[in-house]
């Protein structure tokens, strides 16, 4: 989704070219940074995104200070706060000074800690998928672009093949299979297995877009003079990829990954929503949506839906705006 076509190679071959007498030299990174700081939307989005990551990172600390955890079944611990169907008795989903975001209808988990832990789970998984996808994309994309020939052909066909897969259907069908590969029949499926399975499944069908873009970039770079020069001076292909090509693909890489990450967040939420991702009692953003869509919540406690809903909208919008700003900063020539 979104953000394709940014694979334009920036004009500067490297910092060496800018060394004129009186002017202070600025690296492309510094240029990008000054341009980004001028973009107010980008800066605000960056703060919002940073805030979410901070919450995710500090979730255990926050809940310790707050004095609750997302696993306590308050419907059994504090039966006075619920009716027998598990709907909070107090209005607005039982929001109070004690339970800031109210209580979840059903088993009565604390919504505040559930949300911050859910954000933690979802972001952890998505960051892991993004890292895996970026590494795979670099390895295969650059290899295909730089080496060309049979390697390019082979990787290209693999990418075509994987792109033809219906991703969502594949996720749903393969998640239980991947999970069952790891688990002994007497034990409960540990959460890390589900997390691992989610990462593997999303990574497997997530790297192709980035791989293609990087292949194109590497293909264009291969013909440039400074690469020719390196070749003539006898550098090995590994050195050329590492020292000459990699620094030049940072731009599309950064831009692409800021678009990819929110996509993985929503995809992970989607899987948990459909019941094949993270399951109760492990807190998860998507699973909160799934709870919110039940008739019990719809009919009795609409308030509950606001917390996962609004937080996710804010997160995805902010992250996408951040992605736009990063692209603009790196590449001011792109017409909008």
């Amino acid at each position: 989704m979104g953000g394709g076509g940014t694979a334009v190679v920036s004009g500067e071959p490297g910092p060496k070219a800018t060394g004129e007498a009186a002017l202070t030299g600025r690296s492309p990174g510094q240029l990008m940074w000054t341009r980004f700081k001028r973009d107010r939307t980008g800066v605000i989005s960056a703060y919002v995104v940073g805030f979410f990551f901070l919450i995710g990172l500090l979730a255990p600390l926050i809940s310790k200070v707050y004095g609750k955890n997302p696993y306590t079944v308050y419907a059994d611990e504090r039966p006075d706060l619920f009716d027998s169907a598990g709907v909070p008795v107090h209005p607005n989903g039982g929001i109070s000074g004690q339970f800031w975001f109210g209580l979840e209808p059903g088993n009565g988990y604390d919504v505040f800690t559930k949300l911050i832990y859910g954000i933690r789970t979802s972001l952890m998984i998505s960051v892991a998928v993004t890292v895996a996808v970026v590494v795979t994309g670099i390895l295969l994309g650059v290899a295909a672009g730089y080496l060309g020939g049979k390697t390019d052909y082979f990787i290209g066909r693999v990418i075509d093949f994987l792109l033809a897969f219906p991703a969502q259907l594949f996720f749903i069908a393969s998640m239980p299979v991947v999970v069952s590969l790891f688990v002994s029949p007497r034990d409960e499926t540990p959460t890390y297995v589900r997390v691992l399975a989610l990462i593997i499944v999303q990574w497997f069908l997530g790297w192709m877009g980035l791989g293609r873009i990087l292949r194109g970039t590497a293909l264009a770079l291969r013909e440039r003079e400074f690469i020719e020069a390196a070749k003539v001076s006898g550098a090995s292909p590994w050195r050329i990829i590492r020292k000459e090509i990699l620094p030049n693909i940072v731009t599309p890489l950064l831009v692409q990954s800021t678009y990819l990450l929110p996509n993985f967040v929503t995809a992970e939420a989607g899987l948990s929503y459909l019941g094949v991702g993270i399951v109760e009692p492990t807190p998860d953003w998507g699973q909160m949506f799934s709870k919110a869509s039940t008739e019990l919540v719809m009919q009795n406690d609409i308030t509950y839906m606001f917390f996962p809903g609004i937080s996710m909208i804010v997160f995805v919008v902010a992250f996408n705006l951040l992605g736009d700003s990063v692209r603009d900063a790196f590449d001011p020539k792109t017409a909008r």
Partner: protein, 582 residues
């Protein structure tokens, strides 16, 4: 932004009075009616009018219409309109709470002179099938004999087992091909001396026969019109309504049966001209349609759909809906089975720890609260004679969320703190919800709970395997008639442990086994009910192989023009036989 979005749930702690009424109702056991009780017509429903057509919204299409194949709740409900048996339940009050077993096609509920070994029935005069042929003892013989044919494999098997004097599926050897190859049951088993008389001969006493014959699965089939397998789609019916058209999975139309004579029937009415049944209506859909109460749905109802859990508390709290909503008990009792075949479960203190620790509130919550489930004490539910509302072996009525402290002490005494406990749960939305909260409760008592999901389609196959890996798992069981003789023997008779059998906890206790044999021979229903309840108490206090969780309830809703709306305790839902259109 977040204010005024939703109001809080309702506080439901007002069930005490209701419970007491239920208890009173169950004090009176269902009696067997005599000839006077069995003579038609049925007492008129107050205010009833003739005519009109009623819309019926159903989730499940009827897979079987052959009476011999009917054993599913939805099919048994529609069979109330279509089929008649030798006996039946007559509602003796207008609220569906009091019943007696009377003769339906027979003149009385059956006579026995030797304590239940020989039962004699006489057919009424003027009874006919929907095609106009009179019903004779030949048809009754055909009905019984065809139950032994291989293609009849879905219905109840009590009568067949009693006639063959065996348990399990061995009864089929008595008449392997049914009546279709010229062989018949000998007079020493089933005799029909003339057109009106039927005599059943059993080797052992079976005082429950009048209940058994009242099951829809033993309704009468036409000997002349018996088309074997095809009868399942085109039965020759006997009740006040007949099938005009049936498109499986889509719709069914029932119209009046002109050959049904009200004078011969003391149980049913024929007020409505036709029933238009539509299938594939999910619980949420039928609830919403009937709540909206517009157009044809004003005369709409559902025989077997309940109000869905999400809408339940709203429907019950709305005073405007009071006249359109009925609730009552279903015959099911939920129970957490403790797998007695596991070596880890041999220590009674471990089993007691499970029983005390297990919170039952999660189960009640998952299905919609106390409106849908009532916290259970014993294994015999309120729809069965002998129910004791004060019996509470593990203190669940006082502490439905469990007693972790007591359980912890028991587990510590047994030296099994932090023992692994594999909990197999059904992988439905409700199952996931209650199993996580139950696991949290058991963990507090010191168990290392390992939850294992089991697909809902194969759940009962998995847990009834002898070597299944689960230490605890939840099942439910419904009585076939209001006697614990349809509960205790199938669930707790140790000699019936087998792959696929219903003794889920695999309990094999010599005292329980001998008590089952002894109580089965008691002919006085009141006395046997008391004895079954004693056995219930023995199981839960001395054996501890089950933790009862909840007695199932159901709430149903109808359109504003539906009259005669009553929740019938025996049917376990709306009584379709007395409905009319206002």
């Amino acid at each position: 932004m977040l204010t005024g979005c939703s109001k809080g749930g309702s506080d439901a702690g007002d069930n005490k009075k209701q419970d007491e009424q239920n208890a009173q109702r169950q004090q009176a056991s269902i009696k067997f009616g005599d000839a006077a009780d069995s003579t038609g017509p049925a007492a008129a429903v107050p205010g009833a009018k003739n005519g009109g057509s009623m819309e019926v919204l159903e989730r499940d299409s009827y897979a079987h219409l052959d009476p011999g194949q009917v054993y599913v709740f939805t099919e048994m409900t529609v069979a109330q309109l279509l089929d008649r048996g030798l006996t039946g339940y007559k509602a003796t009050s207008n609220d569906g709470k009091q019943h007696e077993v009377v003769g339906d096609l027979a003149t009385d509920s059956g006579t026995t002179t030797d304590g239940g070994k020989t039962w004699k029935y006489t057919l009424k005069d003027g009874i006919k099938f929907a095609d106009g042929t009179p019903i004779t003892s030949k048809d009754v013989r055909q009905t019984v004999e065809r139950l032994f044919a291989p293609f009849i494999n879905q219905g109840p098997t009590y009568l067949q087992q009693w006639l063959a004097n065996t348990s399990g599926t061995g009864y089929r050897k008595l008449l392997p091909d049914g009546p279709y190859k010229g062989k018949h049951l000998p007079d020493s088993v089933l005799s029909t001396p003339d057109d009106k008389t039927i005599v059943f001969h059993f080797k052992t006493p079976h005082p429950d026969l009048p209940y058994t014959l009242a099951m829809a699965g033993y309704s009468i089939v036409s000997a002349k019109g018996d088309t074997k397998e095809k009868y399942d789609k085109h039965p020759v019916t006997t009740g006040p309504y007949k099938i005009q058209s049936f498109k499986s999975g889509k719709s069914m139309v029932l119209v009046k049966n002109p050959n049904w004579d009200a004078k011969t029937d003391t149980i049913r009415h024929q007020y409505v001209d036709r029933f238009n049944i539509t299938f594939n209506q999910q619980f949420e859909a039928s609830t919403k349609a009937l709540l909206a109460d517009s157009g044809a749905d004003q005369a709409g109802i559902s025989f077997s759909n309940s109000v869905d859990a999400g809408n339940l508390s709203q429907v019950l709290r709305d005073p405007k809906l009071k006249s359109r909503v009925v609730s009552g008990y279903q015959p099911y009792v939920g129970q957490m089975n403790i797998n007695m075949s596991k070596p880890e479960m041999k220590d009674i203190r471990v089993r007691q720890a499970i029983a005390y620790a297990l919170p039952v509130t999660p189960f009640v919550r998952a299905y919609g609260g106390t409106d849908a489930m009532q916290v259970a004490g014993g294994l015999i539910g309120p729809t069965v004679s002998g129910y004791d509302p004060s019996f509470d072996p593990y203190g669940k009525l006082k502490k439905p969320a469990g007693d972790p402290a007591k359980a912890h002490a028991l587990l510590k005494a047994a030296g099994k703190l932090n023992m692994k406990l594999t909990f197999g749960y059904i992988n439905t939305q409700e199952g996931q919800q209650y199993s996580t909260a139950m696991a949290a409760g058991l963990k507090k008592a010191g168990f290392d709970v390992q939850r294992q999901e089991i697909p809902s389609e194969t759940f009962y196959d998995q847990v009834s395997k002898l070597n299944n890996p689960y230490d605890i798992f939840h099942t439910s069981w419904g009585a076939d008639w209001p006697s614990a003789s349809t509960v205790m023997p199938p669930l707790y008779d140790g000699r019936q442990i087998a792959n696929g059998a219903s003794n889920y906890s695999q309990v094999n206790d010599p005292h329980v086994n001998s008590e089952i044999d002894r109580i089965n021979t008691i002919t006085d229903p009141v006395k046997s009910a008391a004895e079954w309840e004693k056995l219930d108490k023995y199981l839960l206090t001395k054996v501890v192989n089950e933790v009862p969780t909840a007695y199932y309830k159901s709430t149903q809703i109808a359109g504003s023009k539906v009259g005669g709306l009553v929740y019938d305790d025996v049917i376990g839902g709306v009584d379709p036989r007395r409905l009319y259109i206002k």
